[in-house]
Every structure is written in structure tokens, then in C-alpha cells.
């Protein structure tokens, strides 16, 4: 059967993985290529890499680090940050990624989703969303608003309307990233994760807030997500205790969540 996925998230600054809290105060963790190699050996299911400064600094994505990571990772590898055009996407794919994550840029220019899906297939385009609960009000029927630019700018878009539109335009996966929960280790926002999973037919990825095995299990069951993005639990220096991929998977399998089993050798 199709198993659920654990995806390690890299917020990359100058070739190094960092860890933020509610999209701020990034602290240094490790060189991206080294951490990628270690997680690959631990049999992580997938890695997603965000060049978190590319957009704000109005520069191209750090292709050198993308290449360095791709050399070590023989599991799926998604890259995002500073992607504006089809040519940007092509450069990233040529560097060894197989999926492109679009976020703020897709809100500014939704056609990038359609163009990417037409050029490279919809499986290649991951729509990542930063969402925050603002209360139900006219124009915001779900109560969740989409933010962009590192959670700094409110868009007025309703989260459910936006993910439906993204799916129609050709997104092959949707990441639901809770701004309130990011880096807090207090659990995914299950309400919006489940609402998005109900609203679209493509796979949905829970993100923001996983601090324990229970949080991950909840995201993949009550939250109805097909995959869980984790980072703090693996390597945040803010947590007293980090857990390894194998430990997490064994604990999830014990809780009845179908996971790819660890392969010896």
C-alpha cells in the first residue's frame, strides 16, 4: 500500500540549514549537504529545501547548494525560494531537484503554477502556502488567510479558495504551513490541514509545529495529510531532545501509521 511520508525541511541560508520560530530568529544547524547525507543514510523519505532569503534579496536560488545536496540524496528532493519563471524552474531541475515549490511568487503570479505544470508535469509543482487563523469573516469563509514573504504580508486570500485554485492551475501537491505553529513544537494545525485535504484531490502535506511522534501521527491521521514536514524534532537546537528518522518511523508504525520500513544494509 502507499505509505505516508516523512519530509525533512531545510531552511537554507548561505549553504547552511537554519531553524526558525514562527518564521523568525533563524539559528544555525549544519551545512546543508552534510545534513542531507546524514538524513539520507537514516532513510528519510524526502527532503525539501527552501532558499529562504532568495525572494527577499531578489536574487536567484543558490544552485551550488542545491547541487551539493542533490549529490547526496537518492530520495525525492524539492526546492523552493526565488523561483519566478519557467527558466528558473528548469535551472533547479537541472541541478538535481525533481519538484519545485512555489509560494509567495505563485500568489503574485498564479500563472507560474500552470506554466510549470505544462512544461514539467503537475507532479513537479508543489504549492506551498503560509496560513494563519484570522477568524471567519466576509471574504474569509474558512477563517484562514494566506500570507506571503515569510509570513509578513497578508494577502486577503482565503486558504481554501487559494488551494482549490492552485489545484485547478496544476499544482501536484499542496503544503499547508501554519504560521502560528511554525517552530513551536506544539503540533500541526489539524483543522486547516484536514480542511485542505478535504478540499483538494492532490496529496496534502502538513507543515509547521511537529514536536512529538503524536503530533506527526495526528497530522497523518486526524489531519488527513499524506505527508508530514518535520524539522525541529530532527535537529532544532531549541528542543531538549531530538529524534532520529528511524526512531520516528518505528514509533509511527507502532501507532498504526503506514510508513516505508527501514531497509537494512
Amino acid at each position: 500500500m502507499l505509505t505516508k511520508r516523512l519530509i525533512a525541511c531545510f531552511d537554507v541560508v548561505n549553504g547552511r540549514v537554519t531553524k526558525a520560530q514562527q518564521f523568525q530568529d533563524n539559528i544555525d544547524v549544519a551545512p546543508a549537504a552534510d545534513l542531507a547525507q546524514q538524513l539520507y543514510e537514516d532513510q528519510i523519505d524526502e527532503i525539501v529545501f527552501y532558499d529562504i532569503k532568495a525572494s527577499a534579496e531578489k536574487r536567484k536560488i543558490d544552485l551550488e547548494t542545491v547541487r551539493a545536496v542533490a549529490h547526496h540524496v537518492f530520495v525525492p528532493f524539492t526546492v523552493g525560494g526565488g523561483i519566478r519563471t519557467i527558466d528558473d524552474m528548469y535551472e533547479v531541475l537541472k541541478a538535481g531537484a525533481e519538484k519545485i515549490s512555489v509560494d509567495s511568487m505563485a500568489v503574485r503570479n498564479p500563472d507560474i503554477i500552470r506554466e510549470g505544470a505544462e512544461a514539467f508535469g503537475r507532479q513537479c509543482v508543489v504549492l506551498s502556502t503560509q496560513v494563519k487563523f484570522q477568524g471567519i469573516r466576509p471574504g474569509l469563509p474558512s477563517g484562514y488567510e494566506v500570507f506571503i514573504d515569510g509570513a509578513r504580508l497578508a494577502t486577503g486570500l482565503d486558504a481554501i479558495d487559494w488551494v482549490r485554485r492552485g489545484e485547478d492551475l496544476g499544482a501536484g501537491e499542496i503544503v499547508v504551513n501554519s504560521i502560528d505553529r511554525d517552530g513551536t513544537a506544539s503540533g500541526y494545525d489539524l483543522d486547516i490541514t484536514r480542511a485542505v485535504a478535504d478540499a483538494v484531490n492532490v496529496p496534502v502535506i502538513a507543515s509547521g509545529g511537529a514536536g512529538t511522534v503524536e503530533h506527526i501521527a495526528d497530522g497523518l491521521t486526524a489531519g488527513a495529510a499524506q505527508a508530514a514536514i518535520i524539522s525541529s524534532i530532527l535537529y532544532s537546537p531549541r528542543l531538549e531532545r531530538n529524534l532520529g528518522v528511524r526512531e520516528l518511523k518505528d514509533a509511527l508504525i507502532e501507532r498504526g501509521v503506514p510508513m516505508r520500513p527501514y531497509v537494512a544494509g
Binding site: 537518492f74 525525492p76 528532493f77 503537475r122 507532479q123 501536484g172
Partner: protein, 203 residues
Amino acid sequence: MIGVIDYRAGNAPSVGYALERLGLTHRLVATADQLDGVERIILPGVGAAQATIDSLRESGLVEPLAARVHDDRVPFLGICIGLQVLFEHSEEGDVDCLGWVPGRVRRFSDTLRVPQIGWNAVRVTRAHPVTDGLGHDAYCYFVNSFFADPADPADALGVTEYGQEFCSIVARGNVVATQFHAEKSGPVGLALLERFARWDGTC
């Protein structure tokens, strides 16, 4: 020397990195003359059937590929869309494909979450040099909205469940193909690539 077919919608670099890790020499093949002298061929793929077929036609690779595979009997490995385009026809864009393997490519039911994305179990149905040692229920990484339905069940070397059982490995003569991304299926996938690199194309 392994020739890896390189086209815009493909993911030849990922396959190249995997071969490098295994210490296997390869070269990217974007034109027909680059097929000369390669001892085996990999057709990787992501994306849509139409884009892949168009890209192969525009590069003038369709006939030279067929000549190397069918006349010279060079061992061939298709990956993902590189499996689907081997069939006669794909429902994706209603496109005629290479027709090397009898059968059609169909869409998963709308009742399923599509694309299928993630690690799923592959059950090998018979002995074959490329899959020997893959183990029972080997988990591999899939990304697909469509699946191959071979006309001859004997062409299905591996099967996987997603809503229904579908063919996840094709084997016909010196041609093998995986619906999953062998280059992205961790140690299991790398081991399959290594066995393909040692295979003489017979079984």
C-alpha cells in the same frame, strides 16, 4: 558506458548523480550520434507523455533509439514516463507512444488521490536478472497519475496496489522499465540500477 537520454522534461541529472554514486560511467544523450558506442541506455522521465514523445521526436531520437534497442539488442531501462511511452498509447493527452510493448496507459480512478505520490510496495512476479535480490514487497518511490496496462500479462515483472493492482515493472526481452523512480528509491533503487548496469539483456 551508459547513455542517459537527456530532454527538457526529463530528470537526467538525478539519474546521473545516482550512477556516479555507484561508480558507473555514463554520458547524457541529447542527439542521435551520441547513442553510438553506448552499451546500455536509460530513458528517465518526469512529466507528461506528450511532452516526452514530442521531445524525443524533435531531437530525432525515436528511430535511432529503436535501432539500438531492437537491432543491436542494447539493454534498455525506462523510468516512470520512460516506462509509459514504451506502450502503444497513453490516455494522458490521448497520445500515440513508441509501441515497443503492446498495451495502453490508463488514468487512475478519480476516486483516488491523484497523482499517487510516495513510497509503495513492489511485488516481483518472477525471476529476472534486474530484479533478483529486490526482496519481497520492496518499497519504491512513485509519482504517477497514469499506469501501464500491458496486453500480455507476461510483460509485467512487478505489480503494485493503488486502488487496484497495476504493473510497476515491465520486462520484455532486453527492455525493462520501472514506473517508480529507481534513482530516487534509496538503497533499493540504487541496487536495481546496479543490477541493470551488469545485465547483458538476456533472461
